[in-house]
Amino acid sequence: MRSVFYMLDAAPYGSEKAYGLLNAAAVSIKMNVIVGLYADGVYLALAGQDSRALGVPNLSDIIYAYPEMRVIAHEPSLAKRGLFSQSLIERVELVDDEKFIEEAVASDSVIAL
């Protein structure tokens, strides 16, 4: 396996899934790693996250800490959730449905946690 597509379809902070997925992606960067934000996972693309008062790690910081990790977000999921009118994290690349699927298929494996 030389490439992994980690698919995140859960919202960050409400569950440990996003944190777990980003950590798994972070240790996998010797392979080609794509984090694909899909469905509720696209909420991770919101800019301005500040989790200090909540007392948990800042998940957008993890994305910035690992530039090797490519992060793409599924545009239809963003649109459905009203995120196009919001500021988004620059590190996240917006891709249409076709491109999102293509990236998943092009990876050696798709892992949805």
């Binding site: 992994v4 777990g20 996998s28 392979m31 494996s109």
Partner: protein
């Protein structure tokens, strides 16, 4: 002989995932190498003393898988948070054959794998 890695994130009993993983791993072990990585709530799976009344004992099934050659590793961050401490990978509360090692083991498992299955609810 190829290598299959199974990633689990649910604990035992709460979902069918752990049991499905056992069925897949059992079938795969006949001809292949099998790795299982226990992540997030799945670190509860190897806890000793499980005593389900109406369900099969999931812990025992994983113990059997390990003794049949599956490599089963648990995430140390997830395990420590949930109260499972390990000394050199060995956790007293865990059933034999399953070790708490490092998240980097997941990456290593993936690299050496031909196929991957992640199961979660």
């Amino acid at each position: 002989m190829a290598t299959l890695t199974i990633i689990l994130t649910d604990g035992p009993y709460i979902s069918e995932c752990a049991e499905m993983a056992v069925k897949i791993a059992k079938a795969a072990l006949v001809h292949h190498r099998v790795n299982i990585f226990l992540y997030l709530d799945a670190v509860h799976i190897p806890k000793g003393g499980q005593n389900p009344v109406h369900f099969v004992n999931i812990g025992r099934l994983f113990e059997e898988l390990a003794s049949n050659g599956a490599t089963i590793r648990a995430c140390p961050r997830c395990a420590a948070a949930r109260g499972y401490q390990a000394a050199e990978g060995v956790c007293q509360e865990y059933l034999p054959g399953i070790r708490i090692t490092s998240l980097y083991d997941l990456a290593e498992m993936l690299k050496e794998s031909d196929k991957v299955i992640a199961l979660s609810r």
